[in-house]
Symmetry: C2
Subunit: 177 residues, 2 copies
DNA sequence: GTCAATACGGCACGTGCCGTGCCGCTAGGA
DNA sequence: TCCTAGCGGCACGGCACGTGCCGTATTGAC
């Protein structure tokens, strides 16, 4: 898995091959195929094995500040190397390979989602978030713009952008929000 | 290009090969390589050549209704076959191939973005959108959740989801919005 | 301490697709 | 009438795939 990440960083995920990983790692190809059925799942495991400081939400009582802090941390991680390009490649692969999509969803997206929703629920109970608001929806509305910028615009994710998104979301589009 | 789309639909983009396209189309491989430098750009051209009824915004004076109508149309197109899976594959490929990313941005994302921003600007001038609101930001906040659901959650895009997103965005997360 | 089972590294194979040569044909313009 | 550019067809070397087979080393049971 270390070799996989090294090669992916050096040449890009597109040029990554199981053959090259085996050679560089000094390992037979069987040894890889015995554990992973495809390049995508090998890459998924490799990336998730880094298991970054689990991105947990603080709860200081101020939702806006907590969200801000947590998303800043996530963005710091995902925006730059080495995580940024690798995670982008992983999401790209998920579009082609359902097994990768499923693994990514269960092992990364779902946990992050759950944490965010839990923090939002606490905020809602304290009256900092509108009572009727569907929190799963709120979660996608929060993440969506970040992923859009990351995957579609391919512009850099900055703290300033996160702040503007958060501000806008709480205020709403309507006048005199 | 027709053959490219046909094969992509039959076997999936991942299994698409220029060799197969040439064979099915009764054409020499040179004839393809002379026009397109890569499978990704061939696919981009093929998909955009369909040039669907250009997804123009109506302007009835009611932003909310116009956005709703336009996004419903976009979602009808992108959610189901044949566009859905093909567009998903295209975005996936864009994560691996910068040339595809650039082409997709310039030729599809940018025009759609511009149209949306223009419609929002008209609404802002009529006081239906908060005066200070950054409209490019508004645009990514609108699109982001849809792309998130399309690419990350991989749940179906429905009219109902679009409506909930729109409602939520105009109201804002804060209580008594 | 012995032995069988298992996982291993190394090598080779057939297959599929890549991208690029070369061939001979054909259609269109000078 | 001829010349050229583009074409379909074919073949090639190269690479990575996924899967066999071989001989070796490690491990766990008895």
């Amino acid at each position: 898995m270390r070799t996989t990440l090294a090669l992916a960083q050096e040449a890009g995920y597109a040029k990554l091959s199981i053959e090259a990983v085996a050679a560089r790692a000094g390992v037979g190809k069987h040894t890889i195929y015995r554990r992973w059925p495809s390049k995508g799942l090998l890459f998924l495991d490799s990336l998730l094995s880094l298991n970054e400081p689990a991105l947990d939400y603080p709860d200081t009582g101020d939702v806006m500040a907590d969200l801000r802090r947590q998303i800043h941390a996530a963005v710091d991680l995902l925006a730059g190397p080495p995580w940024g390009p690798l995670y982008q490649a992983l999401v790209g692969e998920a579009q082609h390979d359902p097994a990768v999509a499923a693994g990514l969803g269960e092992r990364f997206i779902r946990p992050q989602t759950d944490k965010t929703v839990a923090r939002l629920r606490a905020a809602q109970e304290q009256g900092q978030v509108s009572p009727g608001f569907d929190l799963d929806l709120a979660m996608t509305i929060l993440s969506g713009p970040l992923y859009f910028r990351f995957l579609i615009s391919q512009e850099p994710l900055t703290h300033e952008y996160v702040d503007r998104v958060l501000e806008a979301l709480f205020a709403g589009l309507s006048p005199r929000g």
